[in-house]
Symmetry: C2
């Protein structure tokens, strides 16, 4: 299933890739957030209890993004064809708490050959992180990817 | 200028906040990308020279996001009122190369009281990272933020 893609032309709308799952410990959440998103509900378990929307420590959404992309890229599926990207529209429909298991998958939304660059195509790919315990989506990212033909 | 906000109600569309600037070294770019976005044009300066769109090492867009949010949150402007967020629509109009200086700023796009939660409001805020040398925007993030009234 995780065979590396050799060309943009192998992609079809609806195609799905599964990468396995990850968890973030409280310590990992705090370490990341201290550098990249220092807010009490990401860095201080005590203060986070008083956070009106979360009531406890939650992962920075940027950390969740990075964990997903780490898995997506380490799968090797995209390595031969990924040329870069120009945008990601990200939603966090639910918070991610320490030690919750998140399954990561991608679904191809659309594919389009590039007019200006015949050697590449543009794919819109939705990347999803789903909490395994209850199927709730914790991150939904629609990425614009430039891929080698 | 960087006085902490005390309430969502102090925000007005068009308001702008400036946070200073950052640079990412080659080593920092590689360290981040190994964990969160392992692609040759983010992790291997040699291989990156052959990258068709970049022709050299560039920062992971996720790293640029994190650097901006680190500065935004450390400014203290949002600390008293930030309750969390539900999404960020991010574009990377130009690549960020090692040691380029990036100035970070936010502009309030819109504000709306929450109907279901009178104690908070929702602000759409555009966060921009601009290359100081030539004024080119390298990251443009439109965030949906929940803020205390």
């Amino acid at each position: 299933m995780n065979t590396p893609l050799d060309s943009f032309d192998e992609l079809l709308p609806g195609q799905r890739f599964d990468y396995g799952s990850f968890r973030l410990s409280e310590a990992e959440i705090i370490t990341y957030a201290r550098d990249f998103d220092p807010q009490p509900f990401h860095t201080d378990p005590e203060a986070a209890r008083a956070a009106p929307l979360f009531g406890g420590l939650v992962a920075s959404g940027l950390h969740t993004m990075g964990m997903c992309f780490g898995m997506i890229m380490r799968s090797g599926i995209w390595t031969r064809i990924s040329l870069g990207g120009s945008g990601i529209d990200t939603k966090w429909p639910a918070p991610l708490r320490p030690d919750e298991e998140v399954a990561v998958a991608s679904v191809v939304e659309s594919v389009k050959a590039s007019r200006s660059r015949p050697e590449m195509g543009v794919a819109m790919v939705r990347h999803l992180g789903t909490r395994v315990a209850d199927g709730v989506v914790v991150i939904d990212m629609l990425g614009t990817h430039f891929l080698k033909r």
